[in-house]
């Protein structure tokens, strides 16, 4: 409206009498309000109905993340390290286990994640780290959704991609440093994917080195960022050599190469510099980790997550065969590389899912996606709000007040200040007992070791989930003890006089000590049992 013009609402004068004037004013006001509201709805960033195809699966995945218990294995010792980082700096030695020298070097590669978890703990108590996991997971899968939509142009297919990627990750949702790596990985995938399709310029690549500085200090999966860069470089370079349509020119390739070098340099910005690569190699070749830890084992169809993974792989192959669109050389290279990676270990399936499911969406999409006008829709906005509120209600501060079934509640330990968050086999009571009754050379379940590192003021565990810290022989003895094989010999050998055991994971030893008169029960609950050795045998 121009400056000199008056709104009819304020003119006060109509063609008819005063009564008509009021009616007219009211009617016009109502119409104007409705128009204004309608304009607001149309122009406001409300989601359209079509967006619900993506938002609903995202909400389902976010809900699954929020509902997943945090088991004791990895989380607690990371939180303890986070406290140490906060108070004294990044540690560099064992500190917590009595079976290896206290000053045995150990690389705490995920120190930044540990510190961040600890900050969340300071902010929100024990709910904080899990809240962080939930937010990070939702963010990562939101990026999957966006990437799938970018590739396919279809919210329906993007929603399918998110759902499948989420299902593949279902056994990898616990709270641990890997959570902090999900979003950087997807950021790399999006930036590089958009760069390869010329949707962004070289300036977008500037984000990669700073992201890597964060990533290299947050989790050992930072090498996947380098792998993505390398694969994009090889793929796009080959496409250029083959003069394929839409292949990048020399300038774009040079920018990519420069970004790769800068990113590589950024990996050195960590407490141990170039030795971080030696750490990664050691981890990938560490016999106990590779041979004994479940998640390092190849996926098979014998688990639910494995079935989801292989089903998604089959769908992907079918989509590749029947799909309307074909993957380009770079994407094919990425797919093959990450598929092989996923086949080699369950812990890699999450990366494959996040990278490959958007490609699935792309293959299933129409060759030239119709860009339909997507107007903001109030119903969609309400639905989206409901989804947000629904997911929000599952977050740590609110989840415990929901009327959740007892069978679900039974999955959790009663942690003061953090109900329905930590899994039931977290040895809260046993650790409290040990805190009040310290001493002795303790043999413990591996997962319990992680919690004891957090819960005890001066923890000294037999083993914990810092798998690469302990030699293979020690792990073999740990397994033998848990199965009560030659347990008397091993107990004498290590001088063990207390044993905190998992009733389910170490049932043979539980039974053996129960029958052994030289051991008495000090503490027991539904999941764990603490024995003490008494006198000579």
């Amino acid at each position: 409206m121009s400056a000199g013009k008056r709104s009819p609402l304020v003119s006060g004068r109509t063609r008819h009498g005063p009564r008509a004037t009021i009616d007219t004013v009211v009617r016009r006001a109502n119409t104007s309000v409705l128009h204004a509201v309608g304009g607001l709805v149309r122009n406001a960033p409300f989601p359209a109905l079509i967006h619900l195809y993506g938002l609903i699966p995202l909400a389902v995945v976010a809900a699954l993340i929020a509902l997943a218990p945090t088991d004791p294995h990895d989380f607690w010792w990371h939180l303890r390290v986070g406290r140490l980082v906060s108070e004294t700096g990044v540690p560099r030695t064992n500190m917590f286990a009595w079976t290896v020298p206290p000053d045995q070097p150990f690389v705490y590669a995920a120190w930044l994640s540990d510190w961040l978890f600890y900050q969340m703990y300071l902010l929100c108590g024990l709910q904080g780290p899990v809240l962080a996991r939930n937010i990070l997971g939702t963010l990562a899968f939101a990026l999957v959704l966006l990437e799938a939509w970018r590739r396919s142009g279809s919210w329906r297919l993007a929603g399918l991609a998110v759902f499948l990627a989420g299902m593949m990750t279902i056994n990898n949702l616990t709270t641990r440093p890997q959570n902090w790596a999900w979003a950087p990985f997807m950021a790399y995938a999006i930036i590089l994917g958009a760069y390869a399709t010329k949707q962004v310029g070289w300036r977008a690549l500037l984000a990669l080195p700073p992201l890597m500085v964060f990533w290299v200090n947050a989790h050992g999966s930072f090498v996947l960022g380098l792998a993505l860069l390398a694969l994009y470089g090889i793929g796009e370079g080959t496409r250029a050599l083959l003069r394929q349509p839409d292949a990048p020119d020399f300038r774009r390739l040079a920018a990519l190469a420069a970004a790769a070098l800068a990113t590589l340099a950024a990996t050195l910005v960590n407490p141990i510099g170039v030795d971080i690569f030696a750490y990664v190699v050691k981890l990938l070749t560490d016999p106990p980790s590779q041979g004994l830890v479940n998640e390092w084992q190849p996926p098979t169809v014998r688990s639910l997550a494995g079935q989801a993974f292989f089903l998604a792989t089959l769908l992907l192959i079918a989509a590749l065969a029947l799909g309307r669109r074909r993957l380009n050389l770079t994407d094919t290279l990425l797919l093959c590389a990450f598929l092989w990676l996923a086949w080699s270990g369950m812990r890699y399936v999450v990366w494959f899912g996040m990278l490959a499911m958007p490609m699935l969406a792309q293959c299933l999409a129409r060759p030239a996606p119709r860009v339909a006008a997507q107007r903001g829709d109030l119903f969609a906005a309400i639905m989206a709000l409901a989804l947000v509120l629904g997911v929000g209600a599952l977050q740590p501060p609110f989840k415990s007040s929901l009327n959740l079934p007892d069978s679900y509640r039974g999955l959790f330990a009663d942690v003061p200040g953090a109900p329905l968050i930590y899994s039931a086999d977290t040895p809260i009571g046993a650790a409290a007992y040990l805190r009040d009754h310290p001493g002795g050379r303790l043999f413990n379940d591996m997962a319990y070791g992680s919690y004891l590192i957090w819960a005890l003021p001066a923890p000294q565990v037999f083993v914990d989930t810092r798998v690469e810290l302990y030699p293979l022989a020690l792990w073999e003895d740990y397994l033998a003890l848990g199965e009560a094989r030659a347990y008397r010999t091993l107990i004498e050998q290590y001088g063990i006089d207390r044993a905190l055991l998992s009733r389910s994971r170490q049932a043979p030893l539980v039974a053996a000590l129960a029958a052994d008169p030289s051991w008495v029960i000090e503490y027991e609950d539904r999941y764990s049992i603490l024995y003490r050795r008494v006198g000579e045998r």
């Binding site: 192959i317 065969a321 074909r326």
Partner: protein
Amino acid sequence: MTSPSTLDAVAKQQTRLRPTLDQVYIIAALMLIALRPLLTPIPPHDFWWHMATGRVILETGTIPQNDLFSYTRAGEPFFNQGWLAQLLMALIHRIGGLPLIIVVQALVLALAYGLLLRLCILRTGRIRACVAILLLVTMPLSFDNWTVRPQTYVFPLFAGFLTVLTGYRLGMARRLWLLPILMALWVNMHGSFVLGLGLIGIVFAGETIKRWRGAPGPRLDVPLIVWGAATAAATLLNPRGVEVLGYVTNLIGSSQVTDLVTEWSPPTVRDINGAIFFLFLIVAALTLIYARTRPDLTDLVLFGAFLWLALGATRNIVWLGFVATPLLAVQATTLLPPPPQRRFQGVPAMNAALIGLLALLLLIGSPWVKPALLPPETGALIAKGTPVEATRALQELPQRPQRLFHAMSYGSYLIWAAPEQKVFIDPRIELYPFEQWRDYILLGQGVEVEALLAKYRIDGMMLSIEEQAPLLEYARTRADVWREVYADEETVVLVRSGG
């Protein structure tokens, strides 16, 4: 001037005597396929107990319904579902011994993969490409499963099913009547007969979907339904009738089988055969991505179904090889340039020489010749790890142990070579309870030795040095209890002193 008919006759005569390069390709493929089993010594695990059972059937005229060979499960019911294959094996052995067994194995495999090659050529018209795919893709995927046992004898039946069904659905031939006949054989030879029903079901489903989506033909394929039902009925043509289905279900669901046997475990990239399998998947995916046409829906559904089967157990990879090869051949050949009108067929004399050379290789590899010419790894008829000498030594003992503990593979050989020596355990996995398998593993690892030896009242041991070293070490430190009566590079035989 020579008449056209004479020229034709000469041309035909020349063709018969002057092989073309295409013919060389085909013959080479079959010969190379046959060469592999010829050069593979028979491993001990499954072969011998099947032979022993076949011998019993041959000698008694009846199929054993109970365990005859062990002392731990003596008399327990045991379903000898593959009796016909066992009988065939025993008969072949009676006629020509191990050499003939090996040659028949080679012929069976050449027949099975020859049928597969024929199917691929019929669908693509590209002989050389099909041969290349068969040799470079299918063979590496499958030949780890080419051991001498009933399963191999049904490979031609599986290939036959595939050929008949493919020929029917692509309009190349109508021979569905063969299916019940093939099934009648299959159901008496190996438990994989259910895959034949699976093939029919999947083909029916795939073709029905295609027709509902507009492909020509009636909505319901009545002939396939009728002959499918007849084939299902043919599964009852076995000594135990409908019980055979329960046997297969129990076998697949048995935790002993699925947890303890390597080939029943899912493939992973951590061993060479698993790596080959997953590499094959990559190659298959790439072929499907870049092929110039979309694959046939039924082919794709077959591939997906058998891929899922293969992902569940290594032993199912061989079936995937059969099913996937025609699909890959059809898709891969779309990437090739069209063949020239007159293809170079080589020089006939050179072609003949090549065939002759391959024939010579087969001759050298034949079981009657190879022991004299080739090193033991390929020249021997039976594999290292078969306790031939140890068994002989055991038989020569004045007082033989009655309750012998031994490696599982040794059990299979003992059943054949020393049937009077009852075994502790053998590869009839489903016969023995899980607890016994657990005890077998623990004892071999030297765990709870005293208790387990007492539990089973073991009075003798025939141990594999490689697989049962801890138990051997235990026995050797108890020289007052265990006396070593035989030892070679692989096997040690001990008996209780004074017993």
